[in-house]
């Protein structure tokens, strides 16, 4: 468990970029992460990449999880990775979930997204991913 290797509870910042209102998944994830002992901050919907990067810095988040089901991920994620870099927060673990086509997974990794989780991914898979990423950090 990551909590045994670090001095504090892992802190995860969740948000939805853009205007899409499909928030069932991100809310399930928020509850699952909380039940797994993580500290969860959910910014809600309709936030901009800049707002997420700013919050990641302020909250000193270990992980940033972005949920997008609008198909706009290829436009919005590069904005976010740039905004994180601009604030020297590029080392945060970045996860993206939602309706992500298979063909977009590699390009997202290349942009600096560590974990891509299409709809249907089990919460336990994400929790395991986060814990092992934090351990190897």
């Amino acid at each position: 468990m990551a909590t045994q290797n670090t001095n504090r509870t892992p802190k995860i910042l969740l948000a939805k970029l853009g205007l899409d209102g499909h928030d069932r998944g991100v809310k399930i994830i928020a509850r699952a992460f909380r039940d797994a002992g993580m500290e969860v901050v959910y910014l809600g919907m309709r936030v901009t990449p800049d707002q997420v990067a700013q919050a990641a810095l302020q909250e000193d988040a270990d992980v940033v999880g972005i949920s997008i089901l609008s198909g706009a991920h290829m436009r919005l994620i590069p904005r976010l990775t740039q905004a994180l870099k601009d604030r020297d927060a590029g080392d945060v673990i970045l996860l993206v979930g939602g309706t992500i086509p298979e063909d977009d997974v590699e390009p997202l990794h290349d942009m600096g997204v560590q974990g891509v989780f299409p709809v249907g991914t089990f919460t336990q898979t994400m929790i395991d991913f986060i814990n092992s990423s934090l351990e190897s950090k």
Partner: protein, 544 residues
């Protein structure tokens, strides 16, 4: 091919509906002992309408096959409409993109990447004109699936119809216009609960007087269900929304029988076959009783609940997507046995993207096979009297009333106030988030089997031919918007928007003022900005 590669051990089965209602081994007459035929069932077409809204149901007229569509520019969507009308569809349902749904123009910062992506982009009245080009608005019923900006889009639509020479009383379409479900359902809100309820009521009042055959509100449970609610919650919150609209309109001094016949409903349909059928039947009985007993309706038309059904996209899996065709067929069958008036079967590829033309063709075929080959449309309410189904219908109704009473208590006895409270305090969102999480946990633990996902996984998943979105459409739409903006009279626009602001401050019915604004090419975003300036913008509280 699907192989039985899942666990070979049968997990211990729990016998309950997806909402958690107990299901017994056998139902007998004892389970429906208190059921009074005349009081609780009646015959189809008569109060309390449990068995259906019309006496001969689908013998008289089949349900409307209304596959929703919308993507890209108005021109691209217009092409899809013509395709669907040529292939047996009988009504049009418009899906708008997220910027349009939330009241932002295509050139707004937040709109980037979403213009025309999940629906059609509408900025000005020119877009509405192009969207319905060549479609006879007095013959084809049009459903405008929009909520907080509904007043703006409907104004554009009515102005366009007038320009085409179609009289308003010949229009038979629908505005979704269910502002309250936005806070726990679709989440495309722009304004807070109070102001958006005012706009919904403005539309009801205006149409009752000027567009008499228009269905003013499609009171929606579908989005609530997609947000993760269970069937009982969907039923309860939807009926509560409807009651709130009735109370809010009665306060304007309209007689209940003058507007209630133009309220319709919209439900989702999930996998639990009998629970869904029971839900539809319970909804009809609940609405009939509340309209008659609580609001004093005297006309059967005011008590008769009619509804559209969309099979739930959230039940569709990426794994073995062809299995989704079977899910869609079962859900569609439940909707038909529940007595739906119109139906959309979600595309089997929707876990990947908006449906391809091939998927839409399958969805229409599913409906046509049910209608013409299965025989289920030959008699009204074929399952009426089933001991299990009648018992389940009673249980659904009882559980839904418990929720509604709780909401009423929050308003100190006023349902209208209680509903606003229940939304503002996040009560409804939290109830839904809890159900949604519980369901996910049951799937992850395999307590709930989902074929291909947690059991019986297939080894070879073939890639699908998916919908191909043209990213250039965003640029086209922005260019169009810029052209309209530069060609219009800026002073006319400024004056008309000022009038909207003033009307909002004076609490006038805003429909005529907004129509004047869109007629001089004020954009949707500009009108909504004027409203946001007066009422404030609603920001997602991030409840989970």
């Amino acid at each position: 091919m699907t192989t039985g590669s899942g666990s070979s051990q049968e997990p211990e089965r729990k016998f309950q509906t997806l909402s958690g209602l107990e299901v017994k081994e056998l139902y007998t007459q004892d389970d429906i002992e208190g059921l009074d035929h005349d009081r609780d069932l009646g015959v189809p077409g008569a109060y309390p309408f449990t068995r259906g809204p019309y006496p001969n149901m689908y013998r008289g007229r089949l349900w409307t096959r209304r596959q929703i569509a919308g993507f890209g520019t108005p021109q691209a969507t217009n092409q899809r409409y013509r395709f669907l009308l040529e292939h047996g569809q009988t009504g049009i349902s418009t899906d708008f993109d997220h910027p349009t749904l939330t009241g932002y123009d295509s050139d707004h910062e937040l709109a980037e990447g979403e213009v025309g992506r999940l629906g059609v982009a509408i900025d000005t009245i020119n877009d509405i004109r192009d969207l319905f080009d060549g479609i006879p608005l007095d013959e084809v019923s049009v459903s405008l699936t929009i909520n907080h900006p509904a007043i703006t889009i409907l104004s554009m639509f009515l102005a366009t119809a007038r320009k085409q020479g179609v009289a308003w009383d010949a229009l038979r379409g629908t505005t979704q216009n269910d502002s309250l479900k936005e806070f726990h359902g679709q989440k495309t809100f722009a304004l807070g609960p109070g102001p958006s309820l005012k706009l919904t009521t403005d539309i009801i009042e205006f149409c009752t007087k000027h567009v008499p055959n228009w269905y003013t509100v499609s009171i929606s449970g579908y989005h609530t269900r997609e947000s993760g609610s269970d069937a009982v919650q969907e039923l309860a919150f939807t009926i509560a929304q409807g009651m709130t609209y009735v109370e809010s309109t009665l306060k304007r001094g309209l007689l209940v029988d003058s507007f209630a016949p133009r309220l319709s409903f919209f439900f989702g349909c999930h996998n639990d076959f009998f629970e869904e059928i029971a839900k539809f039947r319970a909804a009809r009985r609940m609405w009939a009783r509340v309209m008659k007993e609580r609001y004093g309706a005297t006309q059967p038309e005011s008590m008769r609940l009619r509804f559209h059904t969309q099979t739930l996209g959230s039940t569709l899996m990426r794994q073995d997507p062809q299995n989704n065709i079977v899910r869609g067929a079962l859900q569609a069958l439940a909707a038909v046995l529940g007595g739906t008036q119109s139906l959309h079967v979600s595309g089997f590829d929707e876990a990947f993207d908006i449906p391809s033309e091939e998927a839409m063709r399958m969805s229409l075929a599913t409906q046509l096979i049910l209608a013409h080959e299965s025989g289920v449309a030959n008699t009204a309410d074929p399952l009426g009297g089933s001991m299990f189904l009648e018992s389940l219908t009673n249980s659904m109704e009882e559980a839904a009333w418990d929720y509604i009473k709780k909401i009423e208590d929050m308003g100190g006895g006023s349902l209208h106030q209680g509903m606003l409270q229940a939304i503002e305090t996040g009560y409804i969102e939290q109830e839904i988030a809890r159900s949604s999480y519980e369901y996910q946990k049951r799937i992850e633990s395999s307590d709930q089997v989902v074929v291909g996902l947690n059991q019986y996984q297939s080894e070879n998943n073939q890639p699908l031919e998916l919908f191909q979105f043209n990213p250039e459409e965003e640029d086209w739409q922005k260019k169009r918007l810029a052209e309209v903006k530069s060609a219009r009279s800026q002073s006319d626009v400024a004056d008309s928007l000022h009038a909207v602001t003033k009307g909002a401050k004076n609490d006038e019915n805003l429909m005529p003022l907004i129509m004047s604004a869109v007629e001089v090419s004020a954009t949707e975003g500009e009108v909504m900005d004027a409203l946001r300036d007066v009422y404030g913008e609603y920001v997602d509280p991030g409840v989970f």
